[in-house]
Amino acid sequence: MDQGKIRNFCIIAHIDHGKSTLADRIIEMTGLLTSREMQAQVLDNMELERERGITIKAQTVRTVYKARNGEEYIFNLIDTPGHVDFNYEVSRSLAACDGAILVVDAAQGIEAQTLANVYLALDHDLDVVPVINKIDLPSAEPERVIDEIEDVIGLEAQDAPRISAKTGLNVEEVLEAIVERIPAPGGEVSAPLKALIFDSVYDSYKGVIVFCRIKEGTVKRGTPILMMATGATAEVVEVGYFGAGQFIPCEELSAGMVGYLTASIKNVKDTMVGDTITSREKPCQEPLPGYKKVLPMVYCGMYPADGAKYPDLRDALEKLQLNDASLQFEAETSVALGFGFRCGFLGLLHLEIIQERLEREYNLDLVTTAPGVIYKVHKTNGEVIELTNPSNLPDPSEIEYMEEPVVSAEIMVTTEFIGSIMELCQERRGNYLGMEYMEETRALLRYELPLNEIIYDFFDALKSRSRGYASFDYEMKGYVQSELVKLDILINKEEVDALSFIVHSGTAYERGRKMCEKLKEEIPRQLFEIPIQAAVGSKIIARETVKAMRKDVLAKCYGGDITRKKKLLEKQKEGKKRMRQVGNVEIPQKAFMSVLKLDDK
């Protein structure tokens, strides 16, 4: 294949600016797929993704485009995930491309995520081709948005295609721009093999299917390969490229091409995203730059609502992990919740996705504890513990100091809401770094924020305080020392381990009070009065009381209709089953999760 006829590119955009729709249009218009085959959104083929309207797993498709110049070009459209949780995956997908199409909504203009993605693309030396989408909207202002792109990003945009991906209007201009403005790949076909892994999926027949971009050399059936970072080795069984929704085997993949290979690999952990594949016989000198091991940032406990389902939960997590190397879990036990797992995720969205998949695809009813970040506990004896479960916090007397992770965040907001957003960041212990005006009415706020403060509901708060106008992006910055305490919740004087969490000492009182109030709402009246207390160490900082149930009695059974009475009691018993017995108190499952939603008004 002539390298000059290949275009490897991705589409970057803020959420909802029309990335997937444009991808659909491109696939449709390059003609490899009949309209009948078109699903509503071809790339987003996970059920969950479709419902949430976001792309989680990067997917890739190869199409053939016959350009106006009469030549046929191979387009490898590499899809990128659309959420900050998957930033690393985004960066690896970008590294597999030679150019990027930047989709900007003609009404919304540039958003925080747009900027973050553009900078990421520019970091990878990609040629960025701006496209103005949704020009059919009544509120579209393509000229203003073009100026914005030029002013804010510094990209030449006057001749950017003005399109409607939805109707297909002017999309052909995008195809031509891809041919003309995105460079063909380079790379020496006869050099030692050097291929970048940008994704992988597990298939029960073929083993791991590795998605890669060949930077140098050639790979084909029988090539003995080495994954340079993990050290895993294998022999290639099949290579091929990505048809729309299917894998199409081919003879070989060579420098400049994007495709897949299989090699009877049993575990996605052997094929980490960002790793370099080379030939064992003729290895390359250096791996490709940029590989890092992705580490979970957010942890929580996941427990089966029905204790007997513990093995099912383990099986399900193992299956999910086959396809998701960033998901981590290990067994743990909670006094309140029994046997379960401490699970690590890239972020809260990742957590929610896994939780939903467990519940939906594996039919598991889960109790999830409050998510937390990884704290570093420096002990007086010099030891440093990475704390993922608040229950494991050492005794305060053994703690020298603690550190928490912080992120640098960029928030783009219209000027009228700057005040309320700054206030929000202040409440979340943000450290103001600076502000730039994008244009007269919009500004970019830079803050350093503790990760702990943004994993819960920061995004929602941001949206509500800016009436939906603020957008947000962040990246990990590192650890800083912080005054942290463990907040314990005592129900009926017994500590409920699953409700403990780490909190900044300055907000402990407020959080404790809110948690007690929330739990009072969630815990139904029982046979006894139940005190709910929040404590830091041995000091009680808040208290609420659930009054004793006064009355729960059936007066009469009419005409011997015992069945009806029995059904009533059975219903009651079912309700009790969904609760967790802690000491004498039955706590509904949702109480464990409710502590996350403290700011619900």
Binding site: R550, K551, L554, G560, K566, E570
Partner: protein, 407 residues
């Protein structure tokens, strides 16, 4: 054959009369006003149903009969006579059998009562509910306190010496004072038996629509304070309805009833039932003790041969002689045990604990006795006063599943 000589088993008979003058605002029984012709056809169908069950009479003899409703006293004396005569034709009814007919004030006269007596009816149950006319009006009752007094006088005049009066507490607008007054007025009449039911808001009733949000709060929402006022549901009539007493007041009313009635020589032999010694309703006790019973009439429930079932509820097919049965349930050993517990614990006597019960319910017995909700005395387990208040919560824990039984 030897079989024929064997002593027959006891059977309780329930006969359902689904007619009333007017539906009360709280009532969700299978009952409605009907014209004279329908009532006549129903009596004919009932007789046919009883006749078709006569085979039961070969193995059972009748220990109690309860004619309930609806308002059975709405039937003419002649009609009730035909029904009971049919029953006696097909079953042997024990000489000392308890035969109860439910009556409502305003549907009785001396002749009717006399005919009841002649038929062997030896117990009457009068639906009074309250001695306060305003409360009666809100309940949608068709009678006044004065009309009840007249009916009660008539029952005594006709020679009935075993009379129950049904009362309700927790009513809209009811106060502790008005409830005590009701109790006192009724006690002055010296009935043998008093049922004191806590008002239950049943779905589908006008009361539920008016006050219904509260009915849901038994568990899910019980964390909230009881609302004393009127829930503002869409479509509910906006006519000013007095609020329901709050839970504390309601429980206090129950407590008042217990104290007042016990002082007057009544024994609380079941959660809602009080009787002078020896005047307990045998028919109802049979339900709690899981004795066998057969129900006749639409919707009537039966427990027979280890099975529970119910007649279908539609009047039309019934009048045409189609006596279909629904909700058939063959009771398992686990059902038997569960029922023994949750029914038996409603009674003052309680449940005689077997070794099996002690094993299966070890945890519940230990916990609830320690916490003062259950009490074991001389081998019998029963609810304490506080246990009665929250009995559903406790009884629910005595339902077991088959596999628990096998361990």
């Amino acid at each position: 054959m030897v079989d024929g000589l064997a002593e027959k088993k006891e059977l309780e008979i329930y006969i359902h009369i689904p007619f009333c003058v007017r539906k009360c605002a709280y009532c969700d029984f299978l009952s409605a006003p009907a014209d004279k012709e329908t009532r006549g056809r129903y009596v004919e169908a009932l007789k046919q149903e009883i006749r078709e069950s006569r085979k039961l009479g070969e193995t059972y003899e009748v220990s109690t009969v309860f004619v309930g409703g609806g308002t059975p006293s709405l039937l003419e004396g002649r009609q009730l006579a035909e029904i009971l005569r049919e029953l006696r034709d097909d079953f042997s009814v024990r000489e000392q059998a308890e035969i109860t007919v439910e009556c409502n004030p305003g549907t009785l006269d001396g002749d009717k009562l006399k005919s009841f007596r002649d038929l062997g009816v030896n117990r009457l149950s009068l639906g009074l509910q309250s001695a306060q006319n305003e409360e009666l009006r809100l309940l949608g009752r068709i009678h006044t306190w004065e009309e009840f007094l007249e009916s009660f006088r008539l029952t005594r005049e006709a020679g009935f010496s075993n009379v129950n009066v049904d009362l309700m507490f927790g009513l809209p607008g009811q106060t502790q004072k008005s409830w005590r007054d009701t109790l006192n007025r009724v006690l002055d009449l010296e009935p043998e038996h008093i049922s004191a039911y806590s008002l239950i808001l049943e779905e589908g009733t006008p009361f539920f629509r008016q006050y219904g949000e509260r009915a849901e709060d038994s568990h899910e929402k019980s964390g909230q304070e009881t609302m004393a006022g009127v829930s503002e549901k869409k479509g509910a009539p906006r006519e000013p309805f007095p609020g329901l007493p709050d839970e504390d007041t309601e429980r206090q009313m129950y407590e008042d009833a217990r104290e007042r009635l016990e002082a007057a020589g009544f024994v609380r032999y079941e959660i809602s039932n009080f009787a002078k010694p020896g005047r307990e309703c045998r028919h109802n006790l049979g339900y709690w003790r899981r004795e066998e019973y057969k129900g006749f009439g639409i919707g009537a429930a039966s427990l027979l041969g280890g099975c529970r079932f119910r007649n279908q509820e539609k009047l039309g097919p019934y009048l045409q002689g189609q006596f279909a049965v629904t909700d058939w349930e063959e009771l398992t050993p686990a059902d038997d045990l569960s029922e023994t517990m949750f029914l038996g614990l409603r009674t003052r006597q309680g449940v005689r604990l077997t070794r099996e019960m002690r094993r299966i319910y070890q945890k519940e017995l230990e916990r609830y006795q320690r916490q003062g909700f259950l009490l074991e005395e001389k081998g019998f387990l029963r609810l304490t006063d506080r246990g009665i208040d929250v009995s559903n919560w406790i009884l629910a824990d005595f339902l077991i599943e088959e596999q628990m039984f096998d361990i």
